[in-house]
Subunit: 320 residues, 2 copies
């Protein structure tokens, strides 16, 4: 069996032009850009909790990095560096080759250098830490939504949850749709370009990425900004043909793993946002507005006719 | 049971004066100091692999952070920030309170802000990422040892391995010694001040911290610097009274978990190093010298009489 050092050398050592010193010393050495703040986040993926035991290792490698880059996207930060700590039950060459291929495919797509990490034996657990940069004071934060802001979401929320339900046999999707939903689940595209443009063009006031479900994640913006929201379910993308409407809505509002961005923006930015959506070839849906908080109530969900809908399944909580 | 967000709020949220933005957003935001490089490292501790299942949670919290700070020490970097990703089988209040107490005891001892992280359910796994700073170009690296350098080691290598053997019933230490060895194992003191002073006073050429054993970790310096070394076992600290000499030597040379620093320094620095040892109240042992590499052979180990000793058990390798 290969040693820990062989594993790193063989599978995880690629040139790191963005680092002063990459893997192989006690620490990596990086030179942050002058005038920038460093945005940093870490996410741990556990087998059986965040992914199924038979997940394709290439897709797993992509996704483990992608979900971290999604957090950078939500701050409007430019991704630069990543570290990977992983515990593996065994060091199988085929698995490692495919997994690292997925990692580096994602890293090179988003311009990230893998500068360090740690490998050990144990139950399968993958922990990326990623670093990005943002000009000082310009990061998109959760606590900056203000009354009157529109609420927006990118892309196709709900597909990942539908894909998971399909994989688990809880629903049966038509072939083309299944393919699309599984791609959303297994190879999410973090909205890095969208986050950057929202920040550079000063279009958004607050932003978050959707990992736990639209309602749950929007809830974090509302809580940190001390505001409330009215959401119009009918303004979200229409459900795919042939899917049960209630199931589709549940996936859209409460499904996790989408890695779309939810953000708030002044109504004056609507035209510019439409232009940005066209430029990025990425739909942006205006699905609600920020209102004053009354008591503890943060979310009001309205249907096509302006009738209030009950909210349940607000998201995903690892210990609840 | 408390939710993931409650766990973070209750146990892991303390003021982060060194951060622009601490826990609670998609990323933490940090302002690196001008003219500095960022030193970053990550280490994953797995139950049953790096610590025993019944380890005291307060000591575990201290150690999980300390072993990462030791990597910063080995670069001569000043510790500043940390992130913690952890998977836990359950969220027990008592365990979490003690664990987080240990984390913050270590963080405050070494001047580190816990600025972010992730909590999830799964087999017990603790992954810290730590960041420090070092003036550009001044980090202590592994690849800068040169022929003629003295080899030094700090403190008391071998105590942690003796403590582990005692805990596991492989040896039986006298009470006072056992206490000292268990403290070394369970609450290691990363040599942060030593690393900083070696760098500031330009005393060391190359450095590494001892996590896998003196011979194994020295081996990394030798390999990366393309040199070899002669080691004089008799120049290491003498074995504690009452301990089998062979066992003591084995622990000293091949025992892991010590978190002492091994470094190379020009012979002209001996006096200054002696002064530094006195200042820090930390012994520094000159235990060998750097020589030219001949072929693949990197290490020659000599006993009291200059006779060569066989080398085995060069360290700890998670997949070998």
């Amino acid at each position: 069996m290969p040693s820990e050092f062989d594993v790193i050398r063989t599978y995880f050592s690629r040139p790191t032009p963005q680092a002063v010193l990459g893997p192989g010393d006690d620490c990596a050495l990086l030179v942050p850009s002058a005038g920038c703040e460093l945005a940093i986040t870490t996410d741990m993926l556990v087998e059986g909790q965040h992914f199924l035991p038979d997940t394709d290792p290439r897709q797993l490698g992509w996704k483990a990095l992608a979900v971290n880059l999604s957090d950078l996207a939500a701050m409007g930060a430019k991704p630069r560096w990543a570290l990977l700590a992983g515990s593996l039950p065994e060091a199988r060459a085929q698995w490692l080759a495919a997994f690292s291929e997925g990692v580096f495919a994602c890293a090179s797509r988003y311009g990230v250098d893998l500068v360090g990490g740690d490998t050990t034996r144990g139950p399968l657990n993958l922990c990326f830490t990623v670093l990005g940069e943002v000009p000082a004071g310009e990061a998109l934060r959760r606590d900056r939504a203000v009354r009157g802001d529109d609420l927006w979401i990118s892309g196709w929320p709900g597909l990942a949850a539908m894909g998971l339900a399909h994989l688990q046999g809880r629903t049966r999707l038509a072939e083309t749709l299944a393919k699309r939903c599984l791609a959303a689940l297994q190879q999410p595209r973090p909205r890095v370009e969208l986050g950057l443009e929202l920040r550079v063009r000063r279009l958004a006031n607050a932003a978050i990425d959707v990992s736990d479900g639209v309602l749950a994640d929007l809830g974090h913006i509302l809580e940190r900004s001390a505001v409330a929201a009215e959401i119009h379910a009918a303004q979200l993308p229409s459900r795919p043909a042939g899917v049960d409407p209630l199931f589709a809505r549940q996936c859209q509002l409460a499904g996790g793993d989408d890695y779309e961005l939810v953000f708030s923006a002044a109504p004056a930015k609507r035209l510019e946002l439409a232009a940005l959506a066209a430029e990025l070839d990425l739909p942006l849906w205006r699905f609600g507005e920020v209102v004053d908080a009354v008591g503890d109530r943060r979310l009001t969900l309205l249907d096509e006719d302006g009738q209030e809908l009950a909210i349940d399944g607000q998201g995903f909580d690892h210990f609840a």
